[in-house]
């Protein structure tokens, strides 16, 4: 206890900028010396992809080497740089504090993106994991709107995702790609990346419209019954797609143009977080919580409960559709089986693990379940025994998830920390 308190005190005056700078240095070290020197001398065949998470189960002999690598490349440089640069990062943070909050946030995000870009540039696998994790973040934050803020138990998220994925795929294939189902490209493929956002939006909107099928029953029922209805919706979407040969049926469709590089996904993810955060912190968005906690009282306080429920479902589904569209253009192949019960289990695990009613919780949940999923990949199916077990323990000790009922406070997060607070 004493040690951790001391540790916290030592780093209490490091602003977010300092941590980012530390990460940048760590990533640069890995970029320039990671392969040639560090992993070579530690006897590792290559740079550990996810902090060595994959190695642990596959080749236990290499664990010491991986730990040494993590310490040398990440832990020590990050903490050292963060602590040593406070004399420069704090004044800069203070300067940014005087600028409008959005500017400071955007600058921080740009910085963060740079780090992420360098880190994921090491190999393709890392990049794919980062992309899928970002997409999972959109999914988790959006299902949190329905299952957390609105308090329904909706199981139709994979269905919404499928709608978005298929609609946007069909659009991009029809307009910008030479495809064997949809024929030659209608528009010049050069326009593709610029018009891709519209295809995504179309996917999101169709998912939102589809969600009405679940939203309307939710007027009269909630809890278990709505869960069954929403589960049915997911299977309806899946079997409908399986039986539509026009869009590939059970074989799925592939060959989507690769319009979703890392920056595009990063921007969409940040956009979704920003918009959802704005919404749930506004009084109009808090009506979701009011309806969840006491519907009768909300009605009497002039809250339009039906409208609120429809908004929650359509809004959540919209972002699920966007995530589905991005997913389709990352994998460049989709089939109905991808949007089934396994995906549902994954999404629900992420949101309930991370924490209900909290965006930051959703982000934590999405990132940790994704990394855990990758780390446990060598165990194959057993990973679906371990992840639920972890989930059960979380539910026992924190019934609402790791970080629940907490909102991001960007100002607090980014402020400079000249005077360390007392007694933390």
């Amino acid at each position: 206890m004493e040690l951790s308190r001391k540790f916290k005190n030592t780093f209490a005056n490091v602003p977010m900028l300092g941590w980012l700078l530390g990460c940048l240095i760590a990533v640069l070290i890995e970029h320039y010396w990671g392969y040639d020197y560090i992993s070579y001398y530690l006897g590792l065949p290559k740079i550990p992809v996810l902090f060595g998470a994959l190695v642990v189960l596959k080749e236990p002999m290499m664990i010491p080497g991986v730990i040494a690598y993590d310490l040398l490349v990440y832990v020590i440089p990050i903490f050292l740089v963060a602590k040593l640069t406070v004399f420069i990062t704090n004044p800069v943070a203070l300067m940014l504090e005087k600028k409008p909050l959005w500017l400071s946030t955007v600058l921080h995000l740009l910085f963060f993106y740079g780090i992420l870009h360098l880190w994921s540039g090491i190999n393709d696998y890392r990049e794919l994991v980062v992309k899928l994790t970002l997409i999972s973040i959109i999914l988790t934050v959006s299902i949190n709107v329905i299952n957390g803020y609105q308090g329904e138990f909706s199981c139709s998220h994979p269905g919404f995702m499928a709608l978005g994925a298929y609609v946007s795929s069909v659009l991009t294939l029809y307009f910008f790609a030479d495809d064997k189902i949809f024929g030659p490209a209608v528009l010049s493929p050069a326009l593709g990346p610029w018009l891709f956002p519209f295809a995504l939006l179309a996917g999101g909107i169709s998912a939102a419209l589809g969600s009405l099928l679940v939203a309307i029953p939710s007027f009269r029922t909630r809890g278990d019954y709505l869960a069954i209805i929403s589960l049915a919706f997911m299977f309806i979407v899946k079997s409908a797609i399986e039986n539509l040969d026009v869009i590939g049926g059970a074989r799925g469709i592939g060959g989507q143009p690769d319009y979703a590089p890392l920056p595009v996904i990063f921007i969409w993810t940040m956009l979704s977080i920003w918009i959802i955060h704005n919404f749930v912190t506004s009084t109009m968005g808090k009506a979701l919580n009011a309806v969840r906690d006491d519907e009768a009282a909300s009605e009497s306080m002039t809250v339009k409960t039906r409208k609120t429920k429809i908004i929650a479902f359509m809004f959540g589904a919209f972002w699920a559709g966007i995530a589905g569209g991005l997913f389709a253009h990352v994998i460049t192949y989709i089939n109905p089986d991808m949007f089934s019960i396994n995906r549902l289990a994954e999404i629900l695990a992420m949101v309930y693990f991370g924490g209900l009613n909290s965006i930051i919780g959703s982000i934590v949940g999405a990132v940790s379940i994704n990394l855990l999923g990758e780390a446990l990949r060598p165990l194959e199916l057993f990973k679906w025994i371990i992840i639920p077990l972890i989930l059960i323990f979380v539910m026992i000790f924190r019934p609402y998830g790791l970080i629940s009922f907490k909102e991001i406070n960007a100002k607090e997060l980014l402020r400079s920390k000249h005077k360390p607070e007392q007694g933390i």
Binding site: N278, S282, A287, N289, A297, S298, S300, N357
Partner: protein, 257 residues
């Protein structure tokens, strides 16, 4: 005195059970009207019928000469019927400030787009209703609890949150469903003061269900007595107090001595 609310010949059946029979009510601006009656007489049902939770089987309800029967509860509330609940109906995961802000829902006009992109209009309105909410909190002496969850507040304070929340909807008539239920004598005295103050400062009419005779006699200028869904007596407090039928309904026949 202008008539605000007029309920005429209201009857309601739950299946085969006649819960309310031929009920009349007129509330003029600035009046305080009490509704008393033994348990199960249908007092809360009458509240629910007027505020639109149920639609009455027969009869008419008008607010300022406009029909409100059959409208949704939220529309009726937005037109000026604020209410509190017999068993507190607060939002347990929300803090006190958000409760009061939420009750401004019908006054928001920034729309969804405003909420999504946090537009200037949205920020402006949010800060306006926040200011208003703080004013109400100060009036009810719960300002120091503003960012606490309601479930952490003492019972009396929760009651006051509920009343402040109802007032934030800018009601013309405030419906209070047993505002003193479960209160200590001290809190009771305070509640009488609060209701008087609300009545004076917000210029609302008040319609109040109450069990405690002393309380209701002291506040109301007109009292209705309800037994088995029917009004058996109504009039000014002194009259009701000495009405043998009322005493019988409350105390039973033998105790009449």
């Amino acid at each position: 005195m202008s008539v605000l609310l007029n309920v005429n010949q209201m009857t309601h059946f739950f299946g085969g059970l006649r819960a309310v029979h031929n009920y009349h009510l007129t509330i003029g601006s600035g009046q305080i009207i009490g509704l008393i009656g033994p348990n199960g007489a249908g007092k809360t049902t009458i509240f629910n019928l007027i505020t639109g939770v149920y639609t009455p089987t027969e009869g008419s309800i008008t607010l300022e000469n406009e029909n409100i029967k059959g409208l949704e509860t939220n529309e009726i509330a937005a037109r000026g019927l604020g209410r509190t609940f017999q068993n507190l109906a607060l939002w347990r995961h929300m803090n006190v400030l958000d409760h009061i802000k939420m009750a401004h829902y019908s006054q928001l006009s920034y729309g969804l787009i405003g909420a999504f992109f946090n537009t200037r209009k949205c920020r402006q309105q949010e800060s306006e209703i926040e200011e208003n909410a703080y004013r109400l909190l100060e009036l009810f002496d719960i300002k120091e609890h503003a960012d606490q969850l309601v479930t952490n507040l003492p019972y009396g304070a929760q009651r006051r949150v509920e009343m402040a929340r109802a007032l934030a909807t800018r009601p013309k008539i405030l419906f209070l469903d047993e505002p003193t239920a479960g209160m200590t004598p001290d809190e009771l005295v305070q509640m009488i003061k609060i209701i008087r103050q609300v009545h004076r400062d917000f210029k609302v009419a008040i319609f109040l269900i109450e069990h405690r005779m002393k309380f209701v006699m002291e506040l109301s200028e007109h009292i209705q007595t309800l037994v088995f869904g029917e009004i058996i007596a109504q009039g000014p407090p002194e009259e009701i107090q000495n009405n043998p039928e009322v005493i019988e309904a409350y105390l039973g026949k033998e105790d009449l001595a």
